[in-house]
Symmetry: C2
C-alpha cells in the first residue's frame, strides 16, 4: 500500500470519531450530546484563542496538534466520563493505548511514531505543551456547564473537589485562567450545580 | 469587558457551529448530516497528515488555523452547498463577510484583526497556505463521497466538471494529490456517481 493510501485510510477511519458521544451537551443544538470530533475542534480553537495566558513558553501549534488528535483513541475505546470511578478510568487507559497503536498504526511508519509520541506526551501531561493542552480540555466543559445550568456536572452530581483536581494543570501554568476557574467553581457551588465536597 | 471575557464569549459563541449542518453525510453515524464543527476538525487533521505533498513551502500550522476557523462564518450565514447556483454563492459571500466581522469582532481588537485577516486570506485563496487549505477542504468531501457510493454528489446530481474546478488548487501545488483526485473522479463517473459533463 502506498504512503498516500495509508494516510487516506487513516483519514477515513477518523470519520468514526463523529459517532463517539460524550457526556457534554450542545446547548445550541437542543442539548443533544456532543461528539468527540466537534469537541476536538472546539478545544483547538480554545488553545488558539487563549495562548497568551501561559506563563511558560508554549508552542500553540504543537498544543493544537495534540488537541486535534487527543481523543482519536475513543474510536475504539469509547468515551469515559471524566468523573467516572477510578477503576473505570484505569481500565480505559489500557484500551486507549491499544487503540492508539491500531489507529495511528494505519499511518506510514514515521508518521505513526510521531503521532503516537505526541499522544503519549499529551497523556503523560508532563511537558508545558501537554499541560496547557490538558488545561484546554478541562476548561471547555467547565465553560459549557457554567453556561448551561450545571450541564453534565448537575446530571452526574459531580463534586467541587473533582473539578478542582481536574483543572490543577492551570495552577502555576496560567494563573489568570486558574483564578477564573476557581471563581467559576465557587459560583457553581453557590448555584447547587456542584456538590460542596 | 476584560480581554478574557471577550475571548470566552467568542468561545461560547463557537458552540453554534455544531448546529450548522452540511450536505456531507457521516457514513459511520447512520448517514446523518455532518456539522461544520466536526468537518473543521476532520480537515485540520487532513492538513496535518498530508503536508508532505505540497510542492511549495507550506506552513501547516497556519493552514491548520485557517481550516479551524474557515467555517465559523456559517454560524450566521449558514452552509451553502459547494455546487449551488452561482447567484446563491455570490449572495453567500456578502453574508459571510458580515458574519466574520460580527463573530471575530467578539474577540479583543488585535486578535479580531489577526483572525479576520487569516480568514480573508483563506477566502482569497492566493497564498500557498490558503491554496493548500482550500485543497484540504475539497479533498475531504471527495473522499467521503467516494467511500459512500457517491454520497452528496449522487444526491445532488453533481457534474464532473464542477468537481474538477473545485479541486483546481491542487493542480501545480500538490501534483500527487491532483493525480489521485483525477483518478477518483474518473472512477466516480464510471460508477454513475458524477454526471459526465
Amino acid at each position: 500500500m502506498s504512503e498516500l493510501s495509508k494516510q487516506l485510510t487513516f483519514i477515513l477511519e477518523l470519520d468514526r470519531l463523529k459517532a463517539v458521544y460524550r457526556q457534554s451537551l450542545v446547548k445550541t443544538d437542543n442539548n443533544r450530546q456532543e461528539n468527540s470530533a466537534e469537541h476536538s475542534w472546539h478545544i483547538a480553537m480554545l488553545a488558539q484563542t487563549l495562548g497568551q495566558y501561559a506563563d511558560e513558553p508554549v508552542n500553540i501549534s504543537r498544543v493544537t496538534h495534540m488537541l486535534l488528535l487527543h481523543d482519536i483513541v475513543e474510536i475504539d475505546a469509547g468515551d469515559t466520563f471524566a468523573f467516572a470511578q477510578q477503576q473505570d478510568l484505569d481500565a480505559q487507559e489500557k484500551k486507549e493505548l491499544d487503540a492508539a497503536n491500531r489507529i495511528f498504526g494505519l499511518l506510514p511508519q514515521a508518521q505513526y511514531q510521531e503521532t503516537l509520541n505526541l499522544w503519549l506526551e499529551f497523556e503523560a501531561a508532563k511537558t508545558v505543551d501537554a499541560r496547557f493542552a490538558k488545561a484546554m480540555d478541562c476548561i471547555l466543559p467547565l465553560l459549557q456547564n457554567m453556561n448551561n445550568e450545571g450541564g453534565s456536572w448537575a446530571i452526574h452530581k459531580v463534586k467541587k473537589s473533582q473539578v478542582i483536581n481536574r483543572n490543577r494543570h492551570l495552577n502555576g501554568l496560567a494563573p489568570t485562567l486558574w483564578t477564573f476557574v476557581c471563581e467559576q467553581i465557587a459560583i457553581a457551588v453557590a448555584n447547587g450545580w456542584l456538590i460542596d465536597d
